[in-house]
């Protein structure tokens, strides 16, 4: 029998972290009688006097959120990372190793209106979000080794507030995922004398099997090693290393790319498509300021949980937690669906 990736289970290697993913495309037919998600249907009021992220509302700590008109950033009232904490004592027991963790957590509102999301905002408004990301990155990156900009969208993804916003957690150290990536990208560069993701973009452009969106500055693909059903990577085609490298033209194009990708996501299952997304680029802070970043390529990653409809998600549980990631459709199948779905007009405006 001839191997057909869209029919026959196999494993694929994620070269960014060295981990394999089990691909079982024949499993899409499985009936589902488990938990159903509440579909997110963009039914927020424009202004909610009890929502602390809305302009002019008092937050639990008594501070009043400014009457902002574009983006708005404030320190998280319950941060996972604080700046001033004592360090744990050193231990010489390999089984009980603790290390210091210092940092800072900010919340960034995208827009004053609660009933908008990135795909329903204008490209100009998304441009303001990108400019604010860069402003924040410029402020935080001289001090911190890692500035993680990320958005949890939708209650399915643990987002505790429906107002359009993201978070920025800065760390005095390199967290697990970026650390792994740093090592793997560096090793690839040492062997090939080229940044891994630069080569990857070139090969995806030749193979044309997993492309979702393509323009001169950005490539969106469902990566060959995707784990979440409709996972995508939005990769810089200009050898950018960090988000604050972007030229005005690249930022402008990025706003349109984000609008198109998130519109496709919403249109796929006709709902406000949940995901976690975030930016990865070369590490920062005093420790990395003078190190080479030649092996890095700026990219964003989208991890959306929905699998088959607005209410049926993929669960990464038992086998996935204990053994390895597993997916039920191939990256090529997911890319084809995302490529075909309309990215210009949002289903709510039709």
């Amino acid at each position: 029998m001839q191997f057909v990736a869209s029919e026959h289970q196999h494993r694929r290697l994620n070269p960014l972290n060295g981990q394999w993913v089990l691909v079982s495309p024949h499993r899409m037919q499985r009936p589902w009688s488990g938990q159903e998600e509440k579909p997110q249907l963009n039914v927020q009021p424009e202004f909610d006097p009890n929502n602390p992220l809305c302009p002019g509302v008092k937050r639990p700590n008594g501070i009043i959120t400014e009457r902002y008109e574009s983006t708005y950033v404030f320190d998280n009232d319950f941060p996972a990372l604080l700046e001033q904490v004592p360090s744990p004592p050193a231990s010489d027991d390999p089984l009980f190793q603790a290390a210091p963790a210092r940092g800072n957590c900010r919340v960034m509102c995208f827009h004053p209106k609660s009933n908008l999301t990135l795909p329903t905002m204008s490209a100009t408004e998304i441009g303001a979000v990108i400019d604010e990301w860069i402003k924040q990155f410029n402020e935080l990156s001289p001090k911190y080794a890692w500035v993680q900009i990320f958005e949890n969208k939708g209650s399915t993804m643990g987002c505790s507030n429906p107002h359009p916003h993201c978070q920025i957690w800065s760390c005095s150290f390199l967290p697990t995922e970026p650390q792994l990536k740093q090592e793997r990208l560096r090793a690839y560069y040492a062997t090939h004398d080229r940044p891994m993701l630069g080569d990857y973009v070139e090969r995806e452009l030749q193979r044309r099997e997993r492309i979702v969106i393509e323009n001169p500055d950005w490539l969106v693909v469902v990566p060959y090693w995707a784990t979440w059903p409709f996972e995508t990577m939005l990769i810089s085609r200009n050898n950018n290393k960090r988000i604050n490298d972007l030229t005005n033209g690249q930022r402008h194009n990025l706003a349109f790319t984000i609008k198109e990708l998130t519109t496709k996501y919403d249109n796929l299952f006709k709902c406000s498509f949940p995901y976690s997304m975030g930016w990865h680029g070369a590490p920062t802070g005093p420790e990395h300021a003078h190190a080479s970043s030649a092996h890095w390529t700026l990219h964003a990653i989208y991890y959306p949980p929905l699998l088959r409809s607005a209410t049926v998600r993929k669960f990464m549980v038992g086998f996935e937690l204990l053994a390895m990631a597993q997916r039920d459709l191939t990256a090529e199948q997911a890319a084809q669906r995302l490529r075909q779905v309309d990215g210009t007009q949002h289903y709510l405006s039709k």
Copy 2:
């Protein structure tokens, strides 16, 4: 200021996979207005004529589930792993690596009644589950490199059927997590000439800060590096390597240990406590049959998502997916609560 683990954020190293966990205990105070879980309240009927896992019911594929009286095992009708599939072609491109994956997926019912769970079954009935695990392991392990026995309990954990059951997925290869563990356990053994988890058990017995249940055969702890809020490890104290090494006495004690642990879990938030759990031991199959397993210690891992109540869970999303695992209470705090909660009488029988 003096460092106090229960107050000051820090990182801890998981020596089994080399990854760090961010511990932010001061964050437990954070208000929650995000998604609330449906609490699982053991309200299943004893028999549901439409549930394919109930005795005598016809499954979607036309096969009738036997009128079983204890445990019952059958092949998953929608397996992620099949035995007969062609292999993907070899590739010399490091960015597009695929590998063969063969295997087998079984479903194992714990009991004929749909309205029971492990904590509400008798120790004798749990004993039958353990015996069946061992029987299955004996059947599958000569052929497969990895036999993953795991239970997804509760719809919150993606379980698609409320009937008490687990799954057994066998793989022709070592999946990511066991592969990482294999390497780390082997390296520890090479340096210390002792199995890592044997040393770990000894030290936890001395420190007495994270113990939940302790008896001559088994130790249950919230590991120092736990990621999920009430994560536990159930570790063999007898240097067992695999589940089929267990003596009758050890199996007997295991049934009581599982009953006590799952009763504590249910009593903690007065609900049918969701989790994913599974067994890890030395790899198997022709490839590992003659390799040394001296570095391994048989253990089960429980990953429960609930954080603060029957309805508020921990989400491993944005920062966790993109940067690193993060938890909001210390392992010691979780262990103390689990130690104190009643493990002998289930809240439903009070």
